[in-house]
């Protein structure tokens, strides 16, 4: 995204006849200082803690490269790459179909993807447990249809882990690709078709290269998020699927913080190497373009494929099936994304004390139990409080930052933008460890504010990105007109700028809220027993399972769906950044 042409030079906000002059670059200061103190410094401190123990030592790193931990690192890379690759393989045709269907169909598809995106990951993992068990929904259905005669081993192994991880990663990949594809439009395909290219040949040569920025951004983000997921590995994976983030969590809980720090630094190194490789081969603009929105119109180097017999043979086969293949993949993906969310409802209404399929009746017992148990009630109140504080902080810091990023022409703007977005492309477990070390020094743990400050590290860039995208279409001449009529800068912001950005600000608020509401790590690391959130309570319930969790999972999924419908309504009011 690029800034509006009329904002090419830095526009000081100045009221006629007054001496107050605000440089847009100054608006970047609060968010930058916040992230320097609560993200930059803590991450550097993780490195320091892992290297210094009464003097410089590489003891923790020597231990981290022992065979057992090397194996975990290799598993982590292998699992994250596989999950990101599968998300892209199935997500690309789905996004391709979504970009080309009628708007009404697209709305339904975006609703499915968005509901999955905003649903609590733990609730989704629980849903997969109910789906994939030996007596789960999938095996039960296949056995009843006589497609199989023995239950398939679909859970507590690599298969189960990848099914669960791809469900978490794919919505992100699809939404990024869809934004890229809507920007590209259908012109390349029409142009190629007019030159008598077959449908797949036209796609491969004229369309796909133009969407490479989305492919790269989607894949890298999926890899980064996947490398830090630990709940799915613990809930759906087998004994050989233990990931680096699981080890880091265990070491933190065993109070081996220096070793956990060393493992986190190694994980960070792996992610940075992956990003450097992508940038080396595909161009520096692959992840963040000059305007600051990921994957939209970012210039990337296109890998040229040598045209020869092989490509001709592939084209000959694919041209025959390309008209229906993406559609079939999209239908399968829609079922895959929505089924676990839908299946929780009947299971949560089942009367059995444990998970049975099909349910033998209908009861509201587990919902009543959720409402009556103090632990769940307390966790619910904490989750809303923490998400509320996170949202307020993200807007207070993110709105000035977005205005500053959209208007500033300072040379510092680029580096500040890259720094502000870095929490999104660095595994969140590293920031969580940094915050744990940092807050522990000041004895500032075990309260809702410490968790909210931690959650804001990722919610702030998310909110800033949403508002920055809206500012793309904002004409600063409106503000100048207000100023020329005598409005001061503060009055202009409150009477002109904010009302125009209201829908985008509300969208940013919902993203920030849901990010915090669904997050687990900060509550685990710095929340203590006083700031237990719903996610943390759900995570702890895994070790002591009872069916109230099905009701909580259903409520979390339903809440995500409601929020997404709210987002859609907001987007209808303000078309900026809309995906439909």
């Amino acid at each position: 995204m690029s800034a509006a042409p009329s904002a090419e030079r830095e526009l000081p906000v100045r009221a006629p006849g007054r001496h107050l002059r605000l440089s847009p670059t100054l608006l970047l200061v609060p968010a930058t200082v916040f992230l320097l103190v609560l993200f930059g410094w803590p991450v550097v401190n993780v490195l320091k803690q892992s290297l210094f123990d009464h003097g410089f030592t590489v003891r923790e790193y020597t231990r981290a490269f022992e065979p057992a931990y090397r194996r975990i690192l290799l598993h982590t890379i292998e699992i994250a790459l596989s999950a990101a690759g599968l998300s892209l393989l199935f997500g690309y045709p789905t996004a391709y179909v979504m970009a080309r269907v009628r708007p009404r169909v697209r709305i339904v598809m975006v609703l499915v993807v968005g509901a999955a995106y905003l649903s609590n990951p733990l609730a989704r993992n629980y849903a997969w447990i109910f789906m994939l068990g030996t007596r789960g929904v999938v095996n039960d259905t296949l056995l009843r249809l006589h497609i199989i005669h023995q239950p398939l081993d679909l859970i507590f192994n690599r298969t189960g882990l990848l099914i669960g991880m791809v469900h978490i990663l794919m919505p992100t990949v699809i939404l990024i690709l869809l934004a890229t594809m809507l920007a590209v439009g259908n012109d390349p395909l029409r142009a190629a078709a007019s030159l008598a290219a077959g449908p797949f040949t036209a796609f491969r040569r004229a369309y796909f290269p133009q969407t490479m920025s989305g492919v790269v951004a989607g894949f890298v983000l999926a890899f980064v998020i996947g490398s830090a997921i630990f709940t799915t590995a613990a809930m759906l994976g087998g004994q050989n699927d233990f990931m680096m983030s699981n080890e880091i969590v265990d070491q933190v809980q065993a109070l081996n913080w220096a070793f956990a720090g060393a493992l986190a630094v190694i994980l960070l190194g792996v992610v940075l190497v992956a990003i450097l490789i992508v940038q080396r081969f595909l161009g520096a603009g692959a992840l963040v373009d000059r305007g600051g929105v990921m994957a939209r119109n970012a210039p990337v180097r296109v890998v040229r494929v040598h045209e020869g017999r092989v490509t001709a043979a592939v084209d000959a086969v694919m041209n025959r099936c390309w008209r229906w293949l993406p559609g079939v993949v999209a239908v399968v993906v829609m079922v895959y994304l929505s089924l676990p969310l839908l299946i929780i409802l009947p299971i949560s209404l089942g009367p059995s004390r444990f998970i049975t399929w099909p349910p033998s009746g209908v009861t509201s017992t587990w919902y009543s139990k959720y409402l009556s148990e103090p632990a769940w009630r307390h966790a619910t109140v904490n989750s809303f409080e923490i998400a509320g504080i996170t949202t307020a902080l993200s807007l207070m810091l993110g709105l000035p930052a977005a205005l500053g990023l959209a208007r500033s022409r300072s040379r510092l703007r680029g580096p500040i933008l890259a720094f502000m977005l870095s929490p999104l492309i660095i595994p969140n477990i590293i920031a969580a460890i940094g915050i744990l070390f940092f807050f522990s020094k000041f004895n500032f743990t075990g309260n809702v504010f410490s968790v909210a400050l931690g959650d804001t590290i990722e919610a702030l860039p998310l909110a800033t990105l949403v508002m920055l995208a809206a500012l793309r279409n904002f004409d600063p001449a409106i503000e100048r007109a207000a100023a020329s009529l005598g409005a001061g800068p503060i009055r202009t912001v409150f009477k002109v700028t904010l009302p125009i950005l209201a829908a985008a600000t509300a969208t940013a608020a919902l993203f920030a809220f849901m990010h915090s509401f669904n997050s687990l790590l900060m509550a685990m690391f710095v929340g203590g027993i006083n700031a237990t959130t719903l996610s943390k309570q759900m995570w702890e319930s895994l070790a002591d399972f009872e069916p109230t969790i099905t009701a909580v999972s259903m409520l979390m999924v339903g809440f995500g769906l409601l929020v997404f419908i709210g987002l859609r309504l907001l987007q209808r009011r303000d078309r900026t950044g809309s995906l439909t």
Partner: protein, 110 residues
Amino acid sequence: MADALGYVSDETFDDELSRAGETVILLDFTADWCAPCKAMEPILEGIAEEYAGRMRVFRVDFDECPDVADRYQVMSLPTLILLRDGEPVQRVRGAQNRRAIVELLAGAEL
């Protein structure tokens, strides 16, 4: 050593327990969809071997044995129940590590 663990159903439960010989029995209530139950399996295998001759360990799959689960009022998984002369003397809910299980058994003078 999967043999170290005994497996029962609703129908075989009483017979298996009376055939077990030992007066002390550890029941491990589990289910095939329960991840922490799976994680405890190797620990319980080790415990069963170590305490062989003094105690038997039985895994009780909830889906196979709903009546047994009812009889012992199991409300969450995993649950461990220690029986002495057929009567429950210790009960612990949630995933346990090896040390916690050994402490539980020590509490029952094993």
